[in-house]
């Protein structure tokens, strides 16, 4: 993960600005995977909840291509919760890396830090299909058992609608 980040940042820094890069985009993301608890006691993996995320990203700079993103997130399948997420995204060609924070506020609170990396395939002039592997560490909130943290590893599929 760290090596991938270094490679992406270096390639992004050496790349010329892409004049066709959108100034903003909107994305719908579906994530599903595993959750591992850390702390005292059992550490066996279990299925993570399905997450559905709607995000908007706005370009901060174009060389390297950096976006700020924010949006809403819900957990579903075996529970229901709603929250928000936000952070920064670096893109280089079809590859991208994200880092940010996640906060669920109802019906419980849950704070987490998230990082993801993956790539996108252009499906049309303004549409891209993306796949990322996301790592989220939940470390605080009323939903966590005291002394525990929850680590989620998810495969995230997204559809990105590019603005101009």
């Amino acid at each position: 993960m760290r090596l991938a980040l270094i490679i992406l940042v270096l390639s992004a820094a050496s790349a010329h600005a892409d004049p066709t890069a959108p100034l903003w985009d909107a994305e719908l993301r579906l994530g599903y995977g595993l959750q591992v608890s850390s702390g005292d006691g059992m550490t066996a993996p279990r299925a993570a909840p399905l997450t559905v995320e709607g995000l908007a990203a706005f370009a901060l700079q174009d060389d390297p291509l950096v976006y700020a993103y924010a949006g809403g997130i819900v957990e579903t399948l075996d529970r229901s919760a709603i929250g928000g997420s936000g952070g920064v995204q670096v893109e280089s060609g079809p590859m991208r890396l994200r880092g940010g924070a996640v906060y669920f506020f109802a019906p419980y609170t849950l704070f987490g830090a998230t990082a993801s990396g993956g790539g996108c395939h252009r499906m049309g002039k303004t549409l891209r299909a993306c796949a990322d592997v996301a790592l989220t560490e939940y470390f605080a909130g009323t939903d966590l058992v005291q002394g525990h943290a929850a680590t989620q590893v998810q495969l995230v599929l997204g559809m990105v609608f590019d603005g101009n």
């Binding site: 995977g33 005292d40 006691g41 066996a44 993996p45 299925a47 058992v145």
Partner: protein, 69 residues
């Protein structure tokens, strides 16, 4: 590489390595269960019921006291 690793872990989970009785979050456990400090979903000490019976008992006790005075 990361996708292959993810697929491998997911396959392990499908073969039974994942457990539904482990938890780190309270919402991991089904209704009527609570997440223990050991990270396991266990039956709540009060059997998953609310505190209403305790309140009722308290009211009854208070009535007895009132009646006795």
């Amino acid at each position: 590489m990361a996708t292959k690793l993810f697929a491998f872990v997911l396959a392990l989970c499908a073969m039974g390595a994942c457990r539904s009785d482990v938890c780190a979050r309270k919402s991991d456990c089904a209704h009527g269960l609570t997440c223990s400090a050991e990270g396991l979903c266990v039956t709540a000490p009060d059997g998953g019921t609310s505190e209403e019976p305790v309140t009722d008992a308290g009211v009854d006790a208070g009535s007895d006291v009132d009646g006795g005075m």
